[in-house]
Structure formats: structure tokens, C-alpha cells
Subunit: 348 residues, 2 copies
């Protein structure tokens, strides 16, 4: 049980005692400051190595405020979207010596508040957040502002809070992404189109719904209230609604998803109703996992530049940590429609 | 630019000055310690709230050593396996007020060492690690021991380092998982079986290979060197090898995967060679994403209890953090074979 037989940590005083010099001389030697001979410095460094001395950054961080840690608030750890966000974030942080703490809010305002308070108290240098807005319009905007006043910069990614413009943000152009999807379906001959809204209230989903409504109105495409599927948790509550829709004679010819879990739900429901894709119903996915390509048929989908969202957001955040004081940036990135085989061309 | 207009943080001295009492009285009042009247305590607490006073836990942690943070070392952030590990870990940590820092090592020993040193210096209370072993047998075992001597408990999950038994560990029974897969294929009539080893050297992959070799020997199943595919990065280097194998007349009737990225690679290669699954080749996957069920055909696969691995590992770690001093536990969990439609029944 070597691990638990360990004695207390080696301190600067231990090193000083061993060498019979003052603790401040040891400090100076380890920090490479002047006033210590090269020979003595070497001696101190050798002993520090030998005795497994590890500098206490928590103590240092009290003076320098550099914990080299940021908080990453993600909305739902079940969504593979966030794996790519983390990859993007990490690719920028690692070379800079920064690390991130993952805070999975699970679409719950109280959890988000718990995490924000915890991050403030534990001295992260900045926060990247995909903030929650509920269907009744509640959010933690004031708490985010408190965090910023406290001196911790915040950058929003993926989602915004409407009416709170005092933070940098990097999001998708969600409206255009879905509108382009509707245009695409119309070009393929579809005139009856439904949409699955993963969760009402969320910034991303509401923006995607706006894009849908504008495009169907513009193109005079038929849609009906029962073709607008809303799910609180896409894998469960929407599944039954989708099965009901798919079993009906009055179903649309094409259906649009608004995130990857929702695409899964659509595919499962179609399968369980015995509908063939695209022969019986066309599916336009949202988000792009490698699996989309391996499905039968491969899924036509709207792809977000997820890693870029993470990379750009964290780059903005590091700039703020370094003291950048320009007005907030609002960055919107473009989606891309990846054409595969889940949308049928209808004869007009 | 409200965020940058903020003044410095509110301190205990600021509160003391405002109330014209001593800083130590403010401290006692905020900590709920005796020697302060209920009335004064209320006054101090109200002012603290009003002035957005946030206690400095970094300072507190110097005395109590409680940063309430653990490090989570993951081997490859591209593998969705780790999303479920994180879900499991978080489900245990959140109610206890703990958070985790994600360290993605990308199968690189130097990165692993950088992360371990960083975690030591920044005062995490414990580390959950899936440690790397290279094909030549190198690993950071000594550094892990140094971390433990330094007083930071370590628990291994998913992977071990051979010969280093002084840590708690939670892994899959990898040998049996693959051997059971071979038995299953044999029962379905397969006598020519190949395997795709995601990356040689890794503990998990070597154990899975051992299980394969034992089972094919026991059952006198034919296998050939060219049916053992090795990939450094499964999506790239193994893809060409798989295409070559699948284009050959001399291919096995079934192939076993050893992780999810490798399953993807097998499916892509089969598709690109025009092989139908399971008519032309049977596929036994490893790991289970929802997508496996949605593929055509749905993929028969070996499922690891991933969330449980995360949950049990972090529970052991919290026990060590709380001072548990029993001998290390070596926990092995069982896999489950999920039968779907990617394995053909051969007529004998």
C-alpha cells in the first residue's frame, strides 16, 4: 500500500532545512531569480527533484490569479455534438497549457446556477457556455452578468440568451440552415413538410423553427400543426408522437430534424412503423456523425462546423483572459447541406 | 462593456470597512462561528449578498486541501465511449459537489505526462485514468506512482498498466468478452474468423486479442495472419487493409471488431467493396451506440457497461479521497452480446 504510506508533501522549508539555507533563498533558486549562485541553484533544483518537490500552484494562483483552467458549460452530455465541441476547445487550450472543467447542465436552470457559482468560487479564468432558456423564457442571464462583473470573462457558444448582448458569442446561422433545408426539399419536389423541434425554448431550436416558418411561408409549402413535432427529451416523448404521425395517411412527404438525437428518433420511429426511407418518407437530418454515412440509406443532413464553433469560442475567451477589451463579437457560422440518399426526388 | 468596467473583487476587508467592524468578525459571521450576535451575522450576510461578495475557495483550499475537483484522463476524445464514461462519472460527482477536468491524451505518452504534472500542481483531489501503454511496452507507471506518493489517489478505469497493481481499477473482462464472441460465431456456423485490433499495445486491445487467440485455438477455428488487421488510427490506416482483405477471395466468413471506431471502419470498407452484410461477410461489433440499432442491418455487438465503469471507478476514487485505506480493488465487469442481424447463420 505504497500510495497510502506516503508522508506529507515536501515543502520549500524542507528543502531549506536540508541545505541549511533560508526558505526565501530556495524560492529564489527555484524561480530562477537573481541573488543565487548558479552552483547553489543547481543544488536546490537537484534536491527538489530528488525529494519529489511539486510547487503549489494553488498558493501561487492566489497572487497571479492564473489557475490556467476554464469552465465549459454544456447543455446535455448525451448529445455527441459536445464531443466535437470538446475536441475543438482542447485543440486550442492544450498548447497554451490550459485545461477545462466539464459542467453538464442537462437542460436544468438550477444545475446551471450551481455550476456557475462553483466555477466562480474555484477561480476559473473564464467560462465557455451554451446557456439554457426554458420554454417560459427563464434563464440565468443575471448570474452570467454577475460572473462577468466578478472578473471572469464569459463567451457563449452554440446558444445565446436573447436580450443579453454583452458577451462574445459563436453560434450557427440556425435560421438560414433550416431555411436552406426547406429550399432543398422544395427543389426535390416536396410540398408537404414537417419538422421535429428537439425542445421548445432553446435558442437554437427556436431559431431553427423561425427559419422553417419563414421558408414554408415564402415557398407556400403545406405544413400542419400535427406535422410540427415537439419533444422534451427527443428519444422518449417525441418517439410516440412520431409513430402516430408516421402511421397516419395524412403525413408529410418529408420531415426535418433539428439535432442528432432527434434524427435518431425519426429513424427509429420510421423503422418501427415499417416506413421505408426515402420511398415512404424523406428525412433531412441535422448534425453529422460518421454513422449518418453508414446508414442505409445514408442520411442527407445539415452539418454544423462543430469543432470550429469550439475553436473560435475558446480563442475569443483566451483573448478576453489576456485582457482584450474590444466590444463583444457576435459570430455566426454557416451550415452545409450534405446530400446523401434519404431524400426522394418527387415527380411534380 | 460592462464586463470589463468591473472593479476589483470584493474582499472581507471591504465588508469590514463598510460595517466598521474587524475583518475577523466578518469572517466569523460568514462562517457561522460563535462570538457574533445573530443580528450582526444577518447584517454581514446581507451586505455580502448586496456587494456580490464571493468567498475565495482557492485561498480556503490551501488550508483544507479541498478543491472538489478531480482529473479525468481519457485516451481519445474521438471515441464516443468516453461520452458515456463522463455521464457515469458526472452522475456520481455532481450530487457530491465535485467537478472534473477532462484531459484527452490522444494516445500520446508525453501528453499524458504533461497532464499528470499539471493535475498535481493544480491540486486536484484525485485522478481517474485510462492509462496508455505503447506497442513497445512503455508507460507512465512511475509518474502515476509519484502522483500517488504526492497524496493524490489514482483509480484506473478501462485500462491497466501490466505489473502495476497498487491502484484500484475497474475494467471490462476483455478476454471473455471476445472469447464469447468467437463462441457465438462458431455456434452460428462460422469456421473462418478474422479480427480487427484497433491499436496494438493498449491493455484493452491486447486482452481482447488474447481472448480471440484462446478461443480460436480451443474451437479449432481457422484464422490467418492476413485476417488479423491492425490499425494505428482505425479510421485511416486500417481502412485500406480492410478493403484489401474484403476484395480477396480468401476472406474469412466473419470479422470481429474491438472498438466502435473500428466497427465504423469495417462497415465503411465493406460498403466501399460492395460487400453485403451479413450475406457476404458477417460483422460482430464492439461497443454499442444507438446507431448500431439503426444500421441496415442492425449490428450484432459486444456491449460494455460503460456508464457503470465510470460510476464504479469514481465511487472508488471518492472513497480514497475520503481516506479509505483498504488494499486496492481490481474490478472486472462483464460484457453482454447484443444479437441483431449482422451475423449470418451458415449451413454446416
Amino acid at each position: 500500500m505504497r500510495r497510502f504510506a506516503m508522508s506529507r508533501k515536501v515543502t520549500i522549508s524542507d528543502l531549506a532545512r536540508k541545505l541549511n539555507i533560508s526558505p526565501s533563498t530556495v524560492s529564489r533558486a527555484l524561480a530562477g531569480k537573481p541573488g543565487v549562485s548558479a552552483e547553489l541553484r543547481q543544488k536546490v533544483q537537484n534536491l527538489a527533484k530528488e525529494m519529489d518537490y511539486v510547487p503549489n500552484v494553488a498558493a501561487k494562483s492566489l497572487k497571479t490569479k492564473k489557475t490556467k483552467t476554464i469552465g465549459l458549460i454544456i447543455s446535455d452530455i448525451r448529445n455527441p455534438f459536445f464531443l466535437d465541441v470538446m475536441r475543438g476547445v482542447e485543440s486550442v487550450l492544450f498548447p497554451r497549457g490550459y485545461k477545462f472543467i466539464v459542467c453538464s447542465v442537462n437542460e436544468n436552470l438550477e444545475r446551471e446556477a450551481v455550476y456557475l457559482n462553483w466555477l466562480m468560487e474555484h477561480g476559473v479564468e473564464g467560462i465557455l457556455a451554451s446557456p439554457l432558456t426554458t420554454v417560459s423564457g427563464k434563464h440565468n442571464g443575471n448570474l452570467y452578468r454577475k460572473v462577468a462583473r466578478f472578473g471572469i470573462p464569459v463567451v457563449f457558444y452554440d446558444r445565446l440568451i436573447n436580450g443579453i448582448g454583452d458577451f462574445d458569442s459563436v453560434v450557427l446561422d440556425n435560421e438560414t440552415a433550416i431555411a436552406d433545408g426547406v429550399f432543398y426539399l422544395r427543389r426535390k419536389g416536396h410540398k408537404k413538410i414537417g419538422i421535429c423541434l428537439a425542445r421548445r425554448g432553446l435558442y437554437t431550436i427556436e431559431e431553427r423553427y423561425k427559419g422553417f416558418k419563414k421558408a414554408v411561408e415564402l415557398l407556400q409549402i403545406e405544413t400542419r400543426p400535427e406535422w410540427i413535432i415537439e419533444g422534451k427529451h427527443p428519444m422518449y416523448s417525441s418517439f410516440e408522437k412520431l409513430k402516430k404521425l408516421f402511421s397516419s395517411e395524412e403525413r408529410p412527404t418529408a420531415i426535418i430534424s433539428t439535432n442528432h438525437p432527434m434524427t435518431r428518433s425519426i429513424l427509429r420511429a420510421a423503422k418501427s412503423c415499417g416506413l421505408r426511407i426515402p420511398e415512404d418518407i424523406s428525412v433531412l437530418g441535422f448534425d453529422d456523425l460518421i454513422e449518418n454515412e453508414l446508414m442505409s440509406p445514408p442520411i442527407t443532413t445539415i452539418r454544423q462546423p462543430v469543432m470550429e464553433i469550439g475553436r473560435i469560442a475558446v480563442t475569443l475567451l483566451l483573448g478576453r483572459i489576456d485582457g482584450e477589451k474590444e466590444s463583444p463579437s457576435s459570430i455566426k457560422l454557416k451550415a452545409e447541406l450534405i446530400e446523401r440518399e434519404s431524400v426522394k426526388t418527387l415527380v411534380e
